[in-house]
């Protein structure tokens, strides 16, 4: 269920564009903020709100990688960049290190639903490689120890 407040925020986005449909990306981003994922119900409601078909919203939700459509992620979604600049500076070792620390493999979530670990393609942080993103925040110039500290600091 989209809250009334959220619907108001989506309406504010709609005002930026000449068509209501243009606000679909913002609407899905907002719908995802609270629970970290987008449900089929959210997508139906967004479609109603914007006056488009549910399949149109589903298309958007599944095309763009940042939407977690029916893909639950933990409280902290760790995304480690494994593109070229980060790989040259040890992204692979970093991933292995995090897997060991959390006891999960790439693509998995810890049993307490706290962490999900995935890879991500270039996030534009190549001069400060290797890097990872946890939810919206960038963590750069990483080493094994730095990662350990960062993960310990998250409740």
């Amino acid at each position: 269920m989209l809250s009334e407040d959220l619907k108001k925020e989506i309406e504010a986005e709609v005002k930026k564009y000449p068509t209501r449909r243009s606000a679909v990306m913002a609407a899905l981003t907002m719908a995802q903020l609270d629970k970290g994922r987008v449900t089929a119900e959210d997508m139906r409601e967004v479609a109603d709100l914007l006056g488009i078909n549910p399949v149109d919203v589903h298309e958007i939700g599944t095309f763009y990688t940042m939407y977690n459509v029916e893909r639950p992620v933990g409280k902290y979604h760790i995304q480690v960049c494994w593109n070229i600049s980060c790989s040259l500076l040890g992204a692979e070792h970093l991933i292995e290190h995090i897997e060991k620390l959390l006891g999960i493999k790439l693509g998995e979530t810890t049993p307490d639903k706290k962490f999900t670990l995935t890879t991500v393609e270039c996030l534009g942080s190549c001069g400060t490689a290797p890097m990872m993103q946890i939810n919206d925040d960038y963590y750069e110039n990483l080493t094994g120890e730095r990662v350990e500290e960062i993960l310990k600091g998250l409740d």
Binding site: R21, Y64, I84, G127
Partner: protein, 420 residues
């Protein structure tokens, strides 16, 4: 060289309008509003600035394609969907000096007659988006945006549109599709966006760095700008250096600066004083170069002559411990992940290439794999709907051109020839 694009970076509160104004900001806008739009377009043409997003199309020429009919609504879209691996210059401008971009956008909108402008920023740049939104608010408060800007009859609104993770949206027509609320898949051209772009209206799409050059061109004049760097591709350029150098980072230098100077003078050379093996000069779509090419001036023409391209100016440096097969695999895996699925050669070809490269890398090669890679390249190149597939092929062909022996070694010996 006097810094133009990164001049405010490092100042305290560099993102605030007061800092920007104290450094002479928005003076160019005041001047621009006293000049006729046609004259401004001519000035940008005379500056010879080429687009900094990757394709290098002359910006003034692009603007001049916009119909002059004042009854038509027109749009400016700023392409801030920075995603070419190795590239982080637009992020640098947006986070540190958002008003430079905003001033450039206001001048550009005035020149082309746009009353609405959008900044399409990639979704992952949450911090940058917030910075932009704050900066836009400041600009409204000071009267640089909104109705009757600085007392003239020119009005403009700028909106920020966040993407949600799709490299393809950096392709200008895919960006427009995405802004309209569709999947980001490229449109057929023609019609070109200058005639039928966003919502079917004439639209200019320019990269962040291109737009950020506009205030300086207006303030100091096209002749001044045209004298910076290479004759055919003048102006400042932000090079984004990453990989095995001692001091990676953003370096604003004149176009035409030799690659060797960037790596050895500005970035302090290779980490641990190892030997350089290969360099990607302009983001992963640009074919890699070898040590023999280090004296190439970094501009559009000279890199094209070497069979590569300036692209986004992202310099990825690889030292002697790098396995080129592995690097090629990582890059192809990226293209395969980002292929939008619209056309078959790219949708099916890039995963196929990735699969072969992975087998070569994992020691599971089959005889003929390298030839198969080359055959696939031939069947993809020039047959895709947009440049993504071509970029994938160009990157692999660059690796094969300089380091074919490494690929063959992997195929024949099922292992790597690099000691690392």
């Amino acid at each position: 060289m006097e810094k133009i694009l990164l001049k405010n970076v490092g100042k305290p509160d560099s993102h605030r309008i007061d800092t920007y104004l104290a450094g002479g900001g928005y003076k160019a806008l005041e001047k621009a509003l006293t000049i006729k739009p046609e004259m401004l377009i001519q000035m940008v043409k005379d500056s010879s600035i080429k687009g900094r997003g990757g394709a290098g199309f002359p910006a003034g020429l692009k603007w001049s394609f916009i119909p002059k009919d004042p009854g038509l609504s027109k749009y400016l879209c700023c392409n801030a969907d920075e995603g070419e691996p190795g590239t982080y210059k637009d992020r640098g401008i947006i986070e540190n000096d958002p008003h430079l971009l905003i001033e450039g956008m206001i001048i550009t909108s005035y020149a082309i007659g746009a009353k609405n402008a959008y900044i399409y920023i990639r979704g992952e740049f949450v911090f940058g988006r917030l910075r932009l939104e704050e900066a836009i608010k400041e600009a409204y408060e000071k009267g640089y945006l909104g109705r009757n800007i600085l007392g003239t009859d020119f009005s403009l609104d700028i909106y920020v549109h966040a993407g949600a993770g799709a490299y393809i949206c950096g392709e200008e027509t895919a960006l427009l599709e995405s802004l309209e609320g569709f999947r980001g898949q490229p449109r057929r051209k023609p019609p070109f966006p200058a005639l039928s772009g966003l919502y079917g209206k004439p639209t200019v799409i320019n990269n962040v760095e291109t737009l950020s050059c506009i205030p300086a061109i207006v303030e100091k004049g096209p002749d001044w700008f045209a004298k910076i760097g290479s004759e055919k591709s003048p102006g400042p350029k932000i090079f984004c250096v990453s990989g095995h150098v001692k001091n990676p980072g953003l370096y604003e230098l004149p176009l035409g600066t030799p690659l060797r100077e960037i790596i050895y003078t500005h970035c302090g050379g290779i980490r641990d004083d190892k030997k350089l093996k290969a360099v990607i000069p302009g983001g992963v779509s640009a074919p890699m170069l070898s040590e023999a090419d280090l004296d190439t001036p970094m501009d559009f023409e000279n890199l094209a002559a070497k069979g590569s391209m300036l692209g986004s100016g992202a310099v990825v440096v690889m030292d002697e411990t790098t396995c080129i097969v592995k690097a090629a695999y990582i890059i192809m895996r990226f293209f395969s992940h980002e292929s939008c699925g619209k056309c078959t050669p790219c949708r099916c070809g890039t995963p196929w290439l990735t699969q072969i490269l992975k087998k070569l890398e994992d020691g599971e090669s089959r005889p003929g794999d390298v030839k198969e890679l080359e055959r696939l390249c031939t069947n993809i190149f020039g047959r895709t709907f947009c440049p993504l597939g071509d970029g994938a092929v160009m990157s692999l062909r660059g690796a094969l051109k300089h380091f074919r022996d490494e690929f063959v070694y992997h195929e024949e010996n099922k292992k790597c020839m690099v000691a690392s």
